[in-house]
């Protein structure tokens, strides 16, 4: 691995090593571009992943304080953990469950498709579906996505057998084990899925794609990557002319460092990406970097999620097997007759025993609460993944009162659900309940909305610089050599789990950055 000088201003600094940052690091370094990759977390490995759920959570999760407000259920049920993403090399690709659907063409034209909706701040994507599809295809090949490119799907688990039978009873047709970045057979030097059910704790088989053991080691092999772990970016600096030229960060010892940069790519997950841009305010950029539009941190989307459990009178052992290996896609359509715009997917889910009462069930205690857990063997599970509408006032800001260990304000997350969000969730929960009842569930339990994992849209791509933060390449409208490279740039979330889109956009952005550098534009 390379070690570049702190004063070397020919390097590109990438902040964050997850789906966006890790992929971008590989793509730039293999083109001969020197990259310093700053990662706030430490580095784990297949060996070191803990398989004790509570320990694994602490090992991988971003646990630094965030505050929150608003009427969403997360504020009530998970006051100290509004979002659940990772702080480790590989970022959230270490704990993700690897579902890789594509956004559909109409989802990229949300404003046109859905029309004017009160309170929503919808716009269309500045990229055409045809353009994005080229990069989806590249991303799917890179990640080894199942049911694409002749890669077989994963076999059906017990939990999926229940989902499949229930879905057929309701007449659903598009039901399968999913497009997953989980090896159904050996691929890319990684083993196949042995159905551990420990996707979220870090896949000890490495069967699940994660930048930790794919893109990052590949980037290291080029000799152009300087990965600095336990290094937390606190500020992006700029020259008088407005171009960014350095990143200030705290190293593993807590010492402040300054890395010079030719260009900076921020990929810290929507929450920390927003926070860093806002923390980097200056006399030239008094509202934060790249924020002349006032859109940084606004339009926060997280997708509509939530558990539904079916209790049956026979064992299912739903924890056995890949966590999310099942999907129903029939509701991923726009049909306003359902009472809402946008669509949702129904995805398979299971939770380990220690996590179920903490995350999977609504607040409760006593006989009724305990009786659900008494049926642990006999539970089947499904999860909603639906589109939420961007609203200007659903946003990430700097908390006025709470500071982190370095004295910097922590991120504050505010979400007031749009009526469309609530209507979509209600419809999904109704369908999922009917499904389980149709095949004889003794009881259906509707769970809470868990801490958000699909954090997007807070530095969105927009054709008009007044509507967003970046152009169609994730290049900020205000600063030519400052890029955003994570889910923040999604213009709207759609109903697809976001990682495949983040990877596709990173592959595309890397081409653009390399061209721009060659042309002397960056």
């Amino acid at each position: 691995m390379a070690a570049f000088d702190h004063k070397d201003d020919s390097v590109v600094v990438i902040i964050g090593s997850g789906a966006g940052g890790g992929t971008l690091a590989h793509e730039l370094t293999r083109r001969g571009i020197k990259v310093v990759l700053l990662e706030a977390g430490s580095r784990q490995s297949l060996d070191s992943f803990s398989q004790v759920p509570g320990e694994a959570f602490n090992q991988l999760t971003w646990l630094d304080t965030r505050t929150q407000s608003g009427n969403w259920g997360v504020a009530r049920d998970f006051p100290t953990l509004p979002v659940w993403h990772c702080k480790t090399v590989g970022g959230t690709t270490v704990h993700w469950t690897a579902s890789c659907p594509r956004l559909q063409p109409w989802e990229l034209r949300a404003r046109t498709t859905y029309g004017e909706i009160a309170r929503a701040s919808l716009i269309d994507w500045p990229i055409t579906p045809e353009e994005l599809e080229k990069y989806y295809a590249l991303a799917e090949r890179r990640m080894g996505v199942t049911r694409r490119n002749d890669i077989p799907g994963l076999p059906a688990s017990n939990n999926f057998k229940v989902m499949y039978a229930a879905a057929r009873k309701l007449g659903y047709k598009q039901v399968h084990t999913g497009h997953l970045a989980i090896n159904s057979r050996t691929f890319d030097g990684r083993g196949f899925c042995i159905q551990q059910g420990f996707c979220v704790q870090g896949c000890k088989m490495g069967a699940k794609w994660s930048t930790l053991y794919t893109e990052i080691p590949d980037a290291e092999e080029t000799g152009n990557l300087d990965l600095r772990i336990e290094s937390t970016a606190t500020r992006v600096e700029h020259e008088v002319n407005g171009r960014v030229n350095a990143v200030i960060y705290r190293d593993a010892q807590g010492h402040e460092q300054r890395q010079a940069a030719r260009a900076v790519c921020v990929a810290g997950n929507a929450i920390e990406t927003t926070r860093l841009l806002l923390l980097s305010e200056s006399s030239k950029f008094p509202h934060g970097l790249a924020n002349s539009s006032g859109q940084v941190g606004r339009n926060y989307c997280h997708q509509i999620t939530g558990f539904v459990w079916g209790i049956f009178d026979k064992p299912i052992y739903f924890w056995r097997g890949a966590t999310i290996a099942g999907v129903i896609e029939d509701e991923a359509i726009n049909d306003p007759r359902r009472g809402f715009v946008g669509g949702y997917r129904i995805e398979l889910v299971a939770l380990d025993l220690p996590t179920l009462p903490l995350v999977g069930l609504r607040y409760g205690w006593g006989r009724d609460f305990a009786s659900i857990i008494d049926n642990y063997r006999n539970l089947a599970g499904m999860f909603i993944n639906g589109e939420d509408l961007p609203c200007a006032d659903n946003r990430i800001t700097l908390d006025a009162n709470i500071k982190d260990a370095y004295g910097l304000p922590v991120a504050h997350i505010h979400v007031d659900e749009h009526p469309n969000d609530q209507a979509l969730r209600k419809h999904a929960q109704g369908q999922m309940s009917r499904m389980y009842e149709a095949i004889g569930a003794k009881r259906v339990v509707v769970g809470p909305t868990p801490p958000a994992t699909h954090n997007t849209c807070t530095a969105r791509m927009s054709a008009d610089p007044r509507d967003g933060v970046t152009n169609g390449w994730g290049q900020t409208h205000d600063i030519a050599n400052l890029f955003i490279s994570d889910g923040s740039v999604l213009t709207t979330p759609g109903s697809a789990n976001p990682t495949l889109t983040i990877v596709a956009l990173a592959l595309r952005q890397a081409e653009y950055i390399a061209e721009q550098m060659k042309a002397g534009q960056v």
């Binding site: 509570g54 688990s157 050996t186 042995i194 159905q195 088989m205 924890w319 025993l353 008494d374």
Partner: protein
């Protein structure tokens, strides 16, 4: 459960002791691989450093009311109290919150019928005392090997080859899923 400290240390730091009997054939007996001969019993004891035995008994009753699983060994609930005790030893504020909360419930709480205990806890549901105990109970109770055995959860699978050949698809009371909606099992020759 033998205490790891020498006897003198044990006497110096112990403020209370939770005790119970292991039931032959229970999940705890099998987890602990205790050989309990017919007609004999085995007891366990959990030493406490912040609470008295009487206080801990109230907390035990509270944990059992928050998460009532009648046939789950007391030993599983004792682990919750041990965790609360460990926090209270380190943190005076927690210690004060818990001891005051226990006093508020009164001496008769542990022996009162479940409906009375539920009523008493419902009254204090919004208190920091109750919320601390609820969260600790949920965090600890379902994380122990005793609970894994009781609820049938098989846990970590990597060291056992996953569930691929250990029942991930052994459900037969519903029709099998057609191959086009799922996928083949990995080829045996691929397994190296």
């Amino acid at each position: 459960m033998n205490h790891p400290l020498p006897r003198r240390e044990f006497l110096k730091t112990t403020t209370g002791l939770l005790t119970g009997i292991v039931v032959a054939g229970s999940p705890l007996a099998s987890i602990a691989k205790l050989r309990i001969a017919p007609g004999r019993q085995r007891a366990w004891a959990v030493p406490l450093s912040a609470f008295t035995t009487a206080e801990a008994t109230t907390l035990m009753a509270m944990a059992r009311t928050i998460a009532p699983h009648d046939k789950l060994d007391d030993a599983a609930y004792a682990l919750v109290i041990k965790a609360v005790d460990a926090t209270a030893v380190k943190d005076d504020r927690t210690h004060k919150t818990i001891t005051e909360g226990i006093a508020g419930l009164g001496a008769g709480f542990a022996k009162s019928p479940e409906s009375d205990r539920v009523a008493a806890l419902t009254k204090i549901e919004s208190s920091e005392f109750f919320q601390t105990m609820r969260l600790k109970t949920l965090q600890v109770l379902y994380s122990s090997p005793i609970a894994y055995a009781y609820f049938g959860y098989e846990g970590e699978a990597f060291s056992k080859g996953g569930y691929l050949h250990r029942g991930f698809n052994d459900l037969h009371w519903l029709p099998d899923v057609p191959l086009e909606a799922s996928g083949p099992l990995p080829e045996p020759e691929e397994q190296m």
